[in-house]
């Protein structure tokens, strides 16, 4: 009886303690300002756009009833990638909302596993056709016998070039010609007649994923190499620093250009190259932190207690040294997005799939000045980079105790 009650009270105390942990305090003070809230709001909008892109902008109905039979055409045309993103998002949301006692590392793994398995399942069971003729969804034969249907808010897929309307080309937002056809293009159309707003939404996926994946790759490499450099110092440090210098001497953009020339335009290749070439900064940060932490008494105490190296490095040192890394990472995400946009702008981005940089490229190459082709993607790139910088700055100020009082970019 008493044991149970002491355990229960211990748990309550533990919960209380968790709420006051260092990480939470940092987070709370980082989230205090206005700038970071705007930044997070924008990133949140992007995440929603990226996850629900097929439901937000598509030429086919989300749900419809045809001849008394209810069907979900969007689902039939979703790719494995769409399913992976959706699965990961739903699991993450559930973990966040439901009061499941689960730590951060485990939940991250769960989300990743959910995403991958959803993708695999999607690929196996749903055979989305390689090429979709989006015009068919507006054809009379498709709509025959449809009692009701719910269309996405933007009824045009990113690669729906409006073949059934004939070649339309560039149309400014809410152009007269479009209204005569009964079409609504809030952000106009591009030179192939694709809907700009739909393309913007679908492109947010590339922007987000390249930022996150490239930065994660860079962080993992940087933490491992920098951690060893800082902890062991001596000749390990010497070699590591030379490696860092070698990688710092490689211009990422030119390497990317070379790789694109050799291996074709592959998004994943780009992520890896950006990640593999940009870890040096993280390694430097972690090295400096570890050099400093190594001399801290609690690290010395951990060594003196005979704890294994793994625990000393990753349990006692890394959580205390990771703060400046998070700041650098939020700036890193911004620069990876810029790198992709630059490549696409140079016409070397991913083919087919829409991206903001590629849209900017179109805007520049066009013989006439079409403001909507420049303003919307340009604005989105600016806002995303700006948002990540705001978040990075707020984190940095929250971590620095001297700045903590007015953190969050007021």
């Amino acid at each position: 009886m008493t044991e149970i009650s002491t355990k229960a009270s211990a748990k309550a105390i533990k919960k209380h303690a968790r709420q006051q942990s260092f990480g939470r305090r940092i987070l709370r003070s980082a989230l205090a300002g206005w700038g970071v809230k705007i930044g997070l709001l924008w990133v949140g909008l992007l995440v929603i756009a990226a996850v629900f892109a097929p439901f937000l902008a598509n030429s086919m109905p989300i749900i419809m009833s045809k001849g008394g039979e209810i069907s979900l055409p969007v689902l039939n045309y979703m790719t494995g990638e769409d399913f992976a993103v959706l699965g990961a998002f739903i699991v993450a949301l559930l973990l966040w909302i439901l009061p499941i006692p689960i730590n951060f590392r485990l939940s991250l793994i769960v989300v990743l596993v959910a995403g991958v398995s959803a993708g695999v399942v999607g690929n196996i069971f749903l055979k989305a056709p390689e090429l979709v003729n989006y015009s068919q969804f507006r054809s009379a034969s498709f709509n025959e016998g449809v009692e009701w249907k719910v269309m996405p808010p933007i009824p045009y897929a990113a690669e729906d070039y409006l073949r059934d309307y004939g070649y339309r080309g560039l149309e400014r937002p809410l152009a007269d010609k479009a209204t005569e056809d009964g079409r609504l293009h809030l952000m106009g159309t591009e030179e192939n007649s694709g809907d700009v707003m739909s393309r913007m939404i679908h492109a947010s996926r590339i922007a987000l994923s390249i930022g996150f994946v490239a930065t994660s790759i860079a962080m993992v490499i940087g933490v491992i190499i920098g951690g060893f450099m800082g902890y062991f110092s001596g000749w390990v440090d010497m070699l590591g620093m030379r490696l860092v210098e070698i990688f710092e001497a490689i211009p990422t953009l030119f390497l990317l250009l070379t790789f694109v020339a050799f291996f074709g335009r592959n998004l994943y290749m780009m992520m890896i190259i950006i990640g593999v070439t940009s870890w040096s900064g993280y390694a430097r940060y972690i090295r400096a932190e570890f050099l400093k932490l190594r001399k801290q008494d609690y690290v010395q105490a951990a060594i003196a207690s005979g704890l294994p190296l793994k625990s000393v490095l990753f349990r006692h040192m890394l959580p205390n040294g990771v703060a400046p890394l998070l700041v650098a990472a939020s700036f890193g995400v911004a620069s990876a997005i810029l790198a992709e946009a630059t490549l696409s702008f140079l016409g070397l981005g991913v083919v087919g799939a829409p991206s903001w940089g590629q849209m900017l490229d179109q805007a520049v190459k066009s013989s006439t000045f079409n403001w909507w082709m420049a303003a919307f993607p340009g604005g989105a790139i600016f806002m995303t980079v700006f948002a990540y910088n705001l978040i990075g700055e707020a984190l940095r100020d929250a971590i620095d105790p001297h700045m903590a009082r007015n953190s969050g970019v007021n």
């Binding site: 211990a10 303690a17 006051q20 008494d297 609690y298 010395q300 207690s305 005979g306 349990r315 205390n320």
Partner: protein
């Protein structure tokens, strides 16, 4: 206010200083009144956080306006109320009439300017009519006054070329260059070694005699009070609980808090301890570098820890810093051995080398006849549970990201103590309770504890592994005397209970006398004297030990 201008230089009346911190109002100084007559020294004593420094800063209005308010009180200086003076006038008074020296000699000088230039700048600021040559002359004179050897030659030295004591002298020279009437010294010797402290205190007394200035001296050390002050004020939680002539307060303290503080001074603890429970007579063997016995737990023979100094493009080793130079020691089982010496003498390095946190350059360290210096990292890991360390700085000795529970149980798990997590928690809780903490503290983070509590947790972390030997590296020097007294008592009890062997590294002779069975004195990397504590402290043989003991500020003059 003409009345206050005659006899007393500074007249603090009902001073209140409130600080705003995050919506809360802290009464940092709460109704403090005292006067400082011309030419006299007034000491403010108290534990950390009692408001001594805030009082001093309030007097010269150096507190930030947005945060500090003075709802009540006056500070009369030469007929002016410092609290209401306009900034322009205050700036004139600060530096030229009231000068201040701070605790940290390492950071209070600008590292990129030569010391002479910094003194001249202060001089010219307050005496705009003075020409450069005259200022330089005055500056050199000021440096000579504080007994910097070869003052002319060192005039263009940078702060990093001076030792800590010399820097503090330069700070004093800077403060005195403008011939102030009042000097506020905020713990000016706390960061210094006792021998250096003794010199600085003597210098300050001499300077006061020659210049006739008044001093407001802030300290936490009653020994220093006994040496410096004509009058003393004891502060507790922002209130001045007792004011009086130094001799009266020290001899016959009236307030309970003063009595409590005085009783906690290690020097007084010794007497209480000896009258209460005399140390059980322990057979103490004669030791020499050759005479090693079986009962010793730790043995070092010709231990050397040298750090190479590398220079040039090829990083050739040109010389060594001999942190520990040929030390042969043995530490008998069940004894508390004090390791004394000034900062930089290698005592911490020796402690760390013994428990293999620092690699020895040569020589051997043995524990129970096991040679430790040749063990591999894995073999060493297994032995580590038997030898532990507790650190000086309560801020950095605990991992801020881990619960106390994790800090205590993780090492137990690694060493296979306790078969389940519940059992380990039970053990850890018991150790915490033994350290006079609560079991529920297991579920807290380090930042929720005070300095004294953290030191106890640091000790608990060492104790959970049930070691035979603990190195205590200055574990009480960052603590207030009353907290220090509790921890020392706890150590004595633990030694008796667990048959612990302690290597107690300290620079505080009072603690040594109270706590230790044997004393080892280190000087410049070498052991210069060792023996029973009573013998070393009573009849020091080596010249350095004599100097060290003579420099300790003591209350005994007043205690009779």
């Amino acid at each position: 206010m003409a009345e206050s201008a005659h006899s007393s230089l500074l007249d603090v009346n009902n001073l209140h200083t409130y600080l705003q911190s995050g919506g809360e109002i802290v009464k940092a100084v709460d109704d403090v009144s005292f006067t400082i007559p011309r030419g006299e020294t007034f000491c403010l004593v108290g534990e950390s956080g009692s408001g001594k420094s805030i009082t001093a800063l309030s007097i010269i209005s150096l507190l930030p306006h947005g945060i500090a308010t003075h709802p009540k009180g006056e500070v009369w200086y030469n007929g002016d109320n410092m609290l209401t003076l306009p900034d322009e006038k205050l700036r004139h008074i600060r530096g030229s009439q009231i000068a201040m020296i701070f605790q940290e000699p390492m950071t209070s000088l600008n590292p990129v300017l030569p010391i002479g230039e910094q003194i001249i700048e202060a001089l010219l600021l307050h005496n705009p009519d003075m020409d450069e040559a005259e200022a330089e002359e005055r500056a050199i004179k000021a440096l000579e006054q504080v007994q910097i050897p070869n003052a002319k030659g060192r005039f263009n030295d940078y702060p990093h070329q001076l030792s800590g004591g010399q820097r503090q002298r330069v700070m004093i020279a800077m403060a005195l260059a403008c011939e102030p009437e009042l000097l506020i010294a905020d713990e000016p010797t706390t960061a210094l070694d006792v021998t250096v402290q003794a010199e600085i205190l003597r210098l300050m007394r001499e300077l006061q005699d020659t210049t006739g200035m008044s001093t407001l001296f802030i300290t936490h050390d009653f020994g220093v009070v006994a040496q410096m002050a004509q009058q003393v004020g004891v502060m507790q939680r922002g209130k001045l609980v007792e004011v009086g002539a130094t001799a009266d307060v020290l001899r016959a303290p009236e307030h309970a808090y003063t009595r409590q503080l005085l009783a906690a001074v290690p020097e007084n603890l010794v007497r209480g301890f000896k009258t209460k429970a005399p140390t059980p007579p322990r057979p103490i063997r004669e030791r020499g570098p050759g005479g090693e016995g079986e009962s010793s737990l730790i043995q070092t023979t010709h231990l050397k820890v040298w750090f190479p100094i590398k220079k040039g493009i090829f990083r050739r080793t040109v010389d060594h810093v001999k942190a520990v130079d040929d030390v042969s020691l043995d530490i008998p089982k069940g004894q508390i051995v004090a390791l004394v010496g000034e900062s930089g003498c290698g005592k911490t390095t020796l402690g760390r080398a013994i428990i293999q946190l620092e690699k020895a350059t040569s020589g051997s360290v043995k524990m129970r006849d096991t040679e430790l210096s040749t063990l591999s990292a894995n073999e060493m890991r297994a032995i580590r549970s038997d030898m532990q360390i507790a650190f000086q700085d309560p801020q950095s000795s605990l991992n801020p990201r881990l619960l106390i529970e994790t800090a205590l149980t993780e090492p137990m798990q690694v060493h296979g103590i306790g078969s389940s997590q519940e059992e380990r928690l039970e053990l850890a809780g018991a150790v915490l309770e033994r350290m006079q903490l609560k079991r529920a503290h297991l579920w807290r983070y380090p930042h929720e504890f005070s300095g004294g509590q953290r030191q106890r947790i640091g000790l608990a972390r060492a104790l959970v592994l049930n070691p035979a030997f603990i190195v205590c590296d200055e574990i009480t020097s960052a603590l207030d005397v009353s907290v220090q007294a509790e921890i020392l008592q706890l150590l004595l009890d633990l030694r008796a209970e667990r048959d612990l062997t302690l290597l107690f590294i300290t620079h505080n002779i009072g603690v040594v006398e109270y706590l230790s069975d044997q004393t080892v004195v280190m000087y410049k990397g070498k052991v210069v004297e060792r023996g029973d504590t009573a013998q070393v402290c009573g009849e020091p043989q080596h010249e350095y030990t004599q100097k060290l003991l003579a420099a300790v500020p003591r209350l005994s003059g007043f205690n009779g």
